[in-house]
Assembly symmetry: C2
């Protein structure tokens, strides 16, 4: 962060919005009218519009002690785009509202919006509106993402069928281990501010926490391979919790194979360092923002060469239960122990 400090009052609300958004250029023809009026206007030219929204609160969803504001701005966009991709849709616009206490300087907000801008550019989405205000405490972020999809090509959570293969993109558990590491370093720092953090060889898991990506590339692969998933969602609460959502909403059971769950070598190494089981981290850790989807068995041959997609199990009838088969061939019920904003286990 810059060491300069400009007080935000100098700009006023409209001056601030103009300043923060002046270098955002419109990238989509569907963006008919953008920032500066009562509302924005979009035209998806015969496509259906997809909408999702998230509210992120300092101290609940993020910790500014170890989250650079630029990364936070980037991630606030990504987590919403991930929900749009999880509908098999393409994100096209976002609105971004923020509230902040007077400890924030203009330079700090610039950092945040740099991250927002970077995400918008990389994913080709337009910032079309929002709101800025003061808060009594902490930094508050509300993002709404808008996307488009050809009529009836969107993919719900409730349409998997018995026998469908369960697939997941990328690898799981990294963000949770990144969080575990940062929380540990924070405690060490709070107890002894002289100690510098030891983050060598932890780039991967720290990156998974602070700079996640949304899996646009997986939609491209699915389209190239002419695969329409039978159900899909993003992995934000942890694989256990999210697989159970697919099962519940599709009124099915499932079998997951522990040895098929993709876990990065660096995630495994970090888990061992902390004395944690990597599989448990993948099942119960959240914030991976990978895509979890089901597809017909007949599509299996189309993805065998896709390194970014793992088949981890299959859907079955509801009365067969929701179970995981361990490497030792033991069978356990899958229980949702995912991250939950209320602190209890759903």
């Amino acid at each position: 962060m810059s060491t300069e400090r400009t007080e935000i009052e100098k700009l006023g609300e409209f001056g601030l919005i103009n300043h923060l958004t002046e270098n955002f250029e419109i990238q989509n023809v569907s963006t008919v009218l953008s920032i500066g009026d009562d509302a924005a206007v979009i035209d998806h030219f015969g496509k259906q519009t997809v909408i999702t929204t998230d509210l992120l609160i300092e101290g609940v969803h993020f910790d500014l002690m170890y989250t650079p504001l630029k990364h936070l701005g980037y991630k606030a966009v990504i987590v919403n785009l991930s929900d749009i991709y999880a509908m098999n849709a393409q994100p096209t616009q976002i609105t971004m509202s923020i509230a902040f206490s007077n400890r924030f300087s203009l330079e700090a907000l610039n950092e945040f919006y740099d991250g927002v801008h970077h995400a918008c550019e990389l994913y080709g989405v337009d910032l079309i509106g929002g709101d800025t205000s003061t808060s009594q405490k902490g930094f508050i972020i509300s993002v709404t993402a808008i996307g488009e999809v050809s009529p009836d090509k969107y993919v719900k959570r409730s349409t998997a069928e018995s026998g469908d293969l369960i697939c997941v993109s990328g690898d799981l558990g990294g963000a949770f281990l990144g969080l575990t590491l940062m929380e540990r370093e924070k405690q060490i720092f709070l107890e002894n501010p002289q100690v510098q953090p030891t983050l060598e060889n932890e780039d991967y898991i720290v990156g998974r926490l602070l700079r996640p990506e949304a899996r646009k590339d997986i939609l491209d692969i699915l389209e190239q391979q002419e695969i329409l998933p039978t159900s899909m969602m993003d992995v934000s609460d942890g694989l256990s919790s999210d697989v159970l959502h697919l099962c519940k909403q599709s009124n099915l059971g499932c079998r997951i194979y522990e040895d098929k769950i993709p876990i990065h070598e660096d995630t495994k190494a970090a888990a061992f360092k902390f004395g944690l089981d990597p599989t448990v981290c993948a099942l119960n850790g959240g914030e991976d923002y990978e895509l979890l989807f089901t597809m017909k068995q007949s599509d299996y041959d189309k993805i065998t060469l896709q390194e970014e997609i793992s088949v981890i199990g299959y859907m079955c009838d509801a009365d067969e239960g929701t179970k995981i088969i361990t490497k030792g061939k033991n069978v356990f019920d899958i229980t949702a122990q995912g991250w939950n904003a209320f602190g209890n286990k759903a």
Copy 2:
């Protein structure tokens, strides 16, 4: 509010969302997919989509000491619908995200959602998504409203022309006097909790503050009379500030006549009681959520019988300035002294 208290943890996040939204019925055919997936899907069938969003923070935008939660839920929807109407569009869907500290019970959230539900029913909009989480302090509300408009029928702020008439719906200043009254009663209560509030004959101004309406009816009148405003916005920051927005964005000046500004008798009475000038309250008080628009002079005859629309002045060239002509025929520059979340004057 009910005297029962149910702890929210018992439900979990998904249980809570299900509980709060279970009696919301879909009213629009454009709502293709609603709450319960990664995102919602809407299909405006060849119309353009209009989007607006607001972030409301306890202690900044509302005070729960005198704002019943049911009214707050209602108003949180209304202020966003008002922005959609101000585009000459019809609202069709909203998303609603809330964050709350553990001092909130399930009964309190039910009250809030009762108000949200009432607004949705009355204005025919569907709640299609949102987010709930905890906050470290206070109640936080983020609403995004989505509407539809026939292609190119939306009305911007920047398209007024010199000579156009400036019109405003309803009457102004009431919400500001309602706020002044409630703040006074709050101070009296804090100093002496035994004193009961004296709100007799103050129904109108208190209602303007706590239960505003969005002016859907004005759009109906304009359509019936075949008037397409040349520019439009809603009056949320105060008439002065908002007229200046129209002028600045349309690159024009204006003349406003003090004696034409519509002020309710009860608003005038309250202003005199507080020793305030009613015109100043109308110019600088915010939150009236009336529609401010310009129209061609040739449309004047169409609205002479419309009691809910007042012509208050006209647009002129930018070099003639932005001025108000008082009842005493004095001419003053209009200055923006509207409500501003940053506490300074823009």
